[in-house]
């Protein structure tokens, strides 16, 4: 299964950490350790992180079967890191990262780091349509996209009904924009921030 999904940027700042099992390190030390190893790897090397110090870090005593593997992929300023065990195929996970990033891209339209920063709850919801509890839920991009949109729509409707004056179109995080300031509403529309 997948034990963790981590997203951090090129300075090692976490943008999303999701653990599906208890890893015997705090999330922060894990991110730091993996970041320190990944950031020294130039582009063009393979996407599997394998280093002697990492083996010790993740627990060497385990059987070969249970050895955790780190599969990562870097996009612009972000590193997407999956921690998986032997039940997952390394190359399959690599594809899965691609699927995840593409669904982020569809949801945010040309996703960039800032989208992930300001909508980290949305990212969690999208991830929830790909992986549930460490097991892969769906790998088909269109299917994921549809579920993401459905869930977002449900939240949006619920939000709109709870805040009748908010003019809708805004997710949970847009509460300040919902405070009936026409200017705020306008900016929200113009920048397209709330159009998820």
């Amino acid at each position: 299964m997948i034990h963790a999904v981590l997203i951090f940027n090129t300075s090692g700042v976490p943008r999303l950490t999701k653990f599906y099992s208890t890893v015997h390190h705090s999330p922060q030390t894990l991110v730091q350790k993996i970041f320190s190893l990944i950031c020294t790897r130039p582009a063009g090397l393979c996407n599997f992180l394998d280093a002697p110090e990492l083996e010790e870090f993740l627990g060497k005593k385990q059987r070969e079967d249970e050895r955790l593997r780190v599969v990562y992929r870097s996009y612009a300023t972000l590193h997407f890191v999956f921690l998986v065990d032997a039940a997952e195929s390394e190359l399959g996970i690599l594809d899965l990262i691609q699927v995840f990033v593409e669904s982020l891209d569809r949801a945010f339209e040309n996703v960039c780091e800032l989208d992930l920063v300001f909508h980290f709850d949305e990212v969690h919801h999208i991830l929830a349509e790909v992986i549930q509890g460490g097991l892969v839920l769906e790998t088909n991009l269109d299917e994921i996209d549809r579920s993401v949109k459905q869930a977002a729509q449900a939240r949006k409707t619920s939000y709109a009904s709870a805040n009748p004056l908010s003019l809708g179109g805004s997710s949970m995080g847009q509460r300040s924009a919902g405070l009936q300031t026409p200017l705020g509403w306008l900016t929200g529309k113009l920048t397209g921030v709330g159009t998820i």
């Binding site: 299964m1 999303l16 950490t17 999701k18 599906y20 208890t22 705090s26 999330p27 922060q28 020294t40 790897r41 090397l45 393979c46 996407n47 599997f48 992180l49 394998d50 280093a51 002697p52 110090e53 079967d65 039940a87 195929s89 390394e90 190359l91 399959g92 690599l94 594809d95 300001f118 980290f120 709850d121 969690h124 919801h125 929830a128 549930q132 509890g133 460490g134 097991l135 892969v136 839920l137 790998t139 088909n140 299917e143 579920s147 459905q150 869930a151 449900a154 939240r155 949006k156 619920s158 939000y159 009904s161 709870a162 805040n163 997710s171 949970m172 995080g173 847009q174 509460r175 300040s176």
Partner: protein, 881 residues
Amino acid sequence: MWERTLQDLIRGLRANKKDESKFIAQAVDEIRKEIKSKDMELKAAAVLKLIYLEMLGYDMSWAAFHVVEVMSTPKIHLKAVGYLAAAQSFGPDTDVLMLTTNLVKKDLSSSPADVAVTLNGLASIMTAELARDMSPELIAMLNHSRPHVRKRAILVMYKVLVKQPDVKDKVMPRLRERLEDADAGVVAATVNVLCELARRNPQDYLPLAPQFFRLLTTSSNNWMLIKLVKIFGSLSPLEPRLVKKLQPPITELISTTPAISLLYECVHTCIIGGMLHGSSGNSLAQLCVSKLATFLQDADQNLKYIALLALTKIVPTHPYLVAEYQDVILGSIADQDVSIRMRALDLVSAMVDRSNLQSIVQRLLDLLAKPEAPVASSAAQSLAQVAGSQITPSPLLPLQTKSYRLALAQRIISVCSESTYANVTDFEWYLSVLVDLVYVASVDVGAAIRDQLMDVVARVRGARRYAVQLMAKVLADKTLLQDPKGEDSCPDALSAAAWIAGEYCSEMPNSSQLLKYLLQPEISALSSEIIAVYLHSAAKVLGHWAAELGQSWDDAYFQDLRDKVHMITEAEKAYASSNDMEVQERAANLLGLFTFIEADLASYRPAKENGIDFDGDNSSEFSTVVAADPRYPKSLYLLQPLFTSYELNPVAADAQLRVERPEGLDLDTWIVPPPKNPVPDAVVADVEAFLKPKTKKSKKGKGKERAMGKDGNSASNGIHGEGALGTQPMESAEEAAERAKRKVERLERLRDDPYYLVDDKPPSQVPDVDAIPVVKLEGMPQTSNGPQLASLMSSRTGSTTKSFDVDREGEAPTISRPHSSQAIADSDVALSTPAEYYTVADVSSSASPVPIQVTRVKKGKATGKKKRTPKMLDNGNTTLR
């Protein structure tokens, strides 16, 4: 009325980079207020901010109750926040989890969107209780009308089955139906869950094999195929007929699939299922290897990585197929990518055999010495070079990290020592490799090198002469002493060098030279364990050399002898006040001996016999020799018998087992009768039952002692049983005493308590703690070369080599009863072994209250009858039988 939203918080964080902690402290204060608000929107917003801060490393466990509150709102946009917070912050011991049961139940019967959110959250927070309480609803949900919900329910089932395996019987029929589901995504999810489950417990899923097989032959979804092949990998070892059935479709997949990930899984499953045996298997293996080999040269590093992984799995059964690509593989060891290098290293060590060991190790050594250097000259030449001149450490490649160098050095050692040096044909070569390692490793693998050196020299007689000469060079090299405690060098190897030089100095023509190296002032910087070995070895060397002089005594030697003795005395004097106990004791002991010798030399008059007869009383064998020709100082022969009377051999792993029990030693009678029924027998029986498998397990863990189990003579079984029992008494006695003490205290307290009736009888028969025999371990001899000897003990089995006679089995007693001289010999050797191997470590490990009984080890000590021959077995064995 202006609350910060998550966006405001994030903006604030970005604006306050300098003063982040202060900003966050302020934000958390606000959150604490907001989270108590009656307004659910506000509460949820506060929780959302907390989730963000949690990601940055701030605690949010205090808000668990509020998270549950947010989970319970009917509005989905808030509920989603609540479940997200729960998934992110709840652990198995979050106490509010028990509040969620009804909430989750309710949510599961709500709208599909709610159900999806709930199932997703539930997958993360599942506990055994939740699994038990929720399973009826969840099982029903496996037949939900929406595929999306079915998928989620199936995945949650995995967590339920992990936490609550009892529900399996109810779940399996439904899961089985889902394999036939109309929705491809649902089938894939089911396969996914079953793959995880089959890995844990394959035999339960064998009945599903036909369905899996149908999917394997009909599906084209690579993702699911990978999982299916993985499932068959788990199942096929249990059912040989399955292997036959699988062969055609898997062969088909291997030859047609363009996806290397699938290919890799197929190869893996073929190997696990043993499909590569026989003629058809061979052609399959050939197909696999040739396909994988093309990926080795691929520009895509990922494919290269996977190919190396897969080849490593094939090598054990089909080494000759992989050997064709040896050059490419060896090239990968120097790849710029450390991930590739690690996998290539694995593959290369799996490829090693007798014929290619030297070339492969040389390649690895070159990597350590100078990355990407052309293949250097032979090991001997490079040794001469390193021994002669100082090697300046070459600048490291950025990727040549310390940990990688360490892994590389350790790999070289493990490759060579595999199965008791099964692949090493030339031990002089291996010794020189080890010495090369000392020079080029630049990481601390000293302990491993030390153990190897000593092990090889003890086992391989033919290599001793070369070893001593090599070690003399190592000892003479002052560059090794420059970084005596550093992490980047291998000072521990010096300890082996000193020990070998001392123990086998008879192999060296002019052994007195060694004294100079062993006593050079620079050694004082070394760690104390090593100094102790140096001092001891110096005494050994002098003992040997002096005895040699005695053989052909000439008064011309006298001055030289006196100088050397003086040199040692001076050195011992310096160390006799060492801060380290071990060094101090050795130095003081030796100082005593050498003062003796000095006194003898001082009174010696050339060509006259007026030496004092030192040896008369302590060594009968030698006094006869001495008496025959007393023309030289008699103290010449004082030292040698102390060190060389009995040869130090590796000990066989089952030596202890072969010792027969001395007559009259009754292990079954009590030394001290057990206290009157301190615990019910049933408890004792329970504990025994609990302990027995444990002891067996620890025995198995040793691996190499397998032979013992096979031996299985009646004595061993009986003794084994006693060992299990006998390990308990110490603790039990203490416990009994403790309990009795507590009882007395309680009675004391209750005496004045009007609500209790106190009987006036004195507390019955408190066991006397002092009367309990406790093994005194402090008295055991403690020598500092313990750790080195440890290597000698690890006796492994393996095949033999041609030119070098390797003592793989080790020494074992052949006689049945200890007889005078042999017994002394054995006990003599035993005394030189480290006490820790006697330590009855397990005695203290069991906490069960059991009547006092003494293990055989102790009793043997106490009576002094037991033969102590088998010295240095690992502690597990010593105590267990």
